[in-house]
Symmetry: C2
Subunit: 302 residues, 2 copies
């Protein structure tokens, strides 16, 4: 299962009743954080999830509302006694940005592993999650993320027998572990059916709508997408600032045939996003206006 | 009159119910801010005071809990349309620290005037306030602040007559303005008695207690002082981290004969500062445990 917490849902500046947009995903005790604006560490505490479990921070881009909380969060991890290395992923410029911000966090009791994207699409893993970062279109280099929790095929005793696999190692192979038994190497694929549908979450902010986003979000269980402007008449503003309206986000969700969408990254000029929800739902019914601390647990079907 | 708002009262890390320590002082429409940790801009909004009125930011030192909110606050000032220059004061290293943090706030619609302290004591003005920064004792260079609102002497008609000041300019001189009348220059001192007691606020965090602090705080109307540890048995910890216990702060307040003291900059391990208030009040009765958003308006005596 995969826990998803929308830690904050605001864009541009933190408000007294709205944290900046960030997302926390946790799977089998390991977590990743997408973006870290001012106050994200407090928002994480308010959401009641663990800072300590964070294994990787994935940054979309380097506008302050997405990264200004990084030095404080790193220091808090240090205060909590972290010694394990922390991976940070982000667009070109990561070294320069992190080194600049570390002027106030020069000493940490753990090391940082910085991974700067050199390609428009890059893949890596965080715990059991397969993560793909993909370039989107904003006023500076910016990436969206697809997180995938793969699911192995079902154990197939007929296949196991057909492949003459000793029963003593069925259980080990069923759990996905390769094993050597009486001098012979066996792989889980010898006892498992075809991989089943896993779980997927796609996260996109800040960006204009793109075909690439619809492709990357195809069939996702949850699509978390920016909706900077609720009012469709703010289309020109969205173009100018390289953001989206609710309607544009809903068109993407529809095109990508996702299961559900949470809107996020609202403009400070949009105090009541739900006033415009109907416009989005008219295009894609399974739209919700995300809110600080919103959460869900995605589970494998069956 | 002088408005004082304790924007936050926490030390080390921002908590979900406690902002980091910062102080906002406003006099005749101009404000200064002391320190700017993560979330200070939100705390200022919660306190209902104006970001826009800030003319100067005075930093005590460069631990992250005192400065990590600076880039976000600068950007928010820019978003509010500020074009007036902003003064920032702080210990040696100010250029390096501000330039580092500005990696995420490279473009601002106003200029920054950085003033780095080269002496253990330096004085300047912010609007009508006379400010003195003075070195204190922490694990890195750190300054306390004394803010003074001076008060001119009372209008003295006997003195004015004695000095043969034309009555036509009495009112102008009474308001503190020099004037040239019929070719002769006159100064306010010619019609005013001796300067009267003004208003003063002294702010000290992070530091060990020092004679210099007692001297600088002498007779202050309000002394805002760190109290990292409530429990007097944490004396060793206070020595190790170069902070104070409540009792030490109260001793300073007593020695400085201040009118009142607010404690601030509580350790995250001190969720209920009021549990230790009696210990401080036993030493200095006019002690209060400061809290987020605490405020007072100091007025001239009459």
């Amino acid at each position: 299962m995969l826990d998803v917490v929308l830690v904050g849902c605001g864009g541009t500046i933190p408000l007294k009743n709205r944290w900046l947009t960030a997302c926390y995903l946790r799977c089998n005790g390991r977590a990743m954080l997408i973006d870290c604006g001012e106050g994200t560490q407090i928002a994480i505490k308010e959401a009641g999830v663990s800072l300590y479990a964070i294994n990787a921070i994935c940054l979309t881009h380097y506008h302050a509302d997405h990264i200004s909380g990084l030095p404080g969060l790193l220091l808090s991890l240090g205060n909590e006694g972290r010694t394990d290395p922390l991976a940070i992923y982000g667009p070109v410029g990561l070294q320069r940005i992190v080194n600049g911000l570390r002027v106030i966090a020069p000493e940490l009791p753990f090391s940082l592993e910085l991974h700067e994207y050199l390609q428009p699409q890059e893949s890596f893993t965080v715990g059991d999650l397969s993560v793909t970062a993909f370039a989107v279109k904003h006023t500076l280099p910016c990436y969206g993320y697809r997180m995938q929790l793969p699911r192995a095929g079902k154990f197939d005793p007929i296949r196991a027998k057909h492949n003459q696999i000793p029963m003593a190692i069925w259980s080990t192979l069923q759990k996905g572990n390769a094993v050597t038994y009486e001098g012979v190497a066996y792989s889980p694929q010898q006892v498992l059916g075809a991989p089943r549908k896993g779980l997927s979450v796609v996260y996109c902010t800040d960006t204009r709508p793109l075909e690439r986003i619809a492709t990357m979000a195809q069939g996702a269980d949850l699509f978390i997408c920016e909706g900077m402007y609720g009012d469709a008449s703010k289309q020109d503003k969205a173009l100018e600032t390289q953001h989206m309206t609710f309607s544009e986000a809903a068109q993407l969700a529809k095109q990508a045939e996702v299961r559900s969408m949470w809107l996020t990254h609202y403009s400070p000029s949009l105090p009541e996003p739900n006033e415009y929800l109907a416009d989005a739902q008219a295009i894609f019914a399974e739209t919700q206006c995300g809110f600080d601390g919103q959460r869900t647990t995605l589970r494998f079907e069956d």
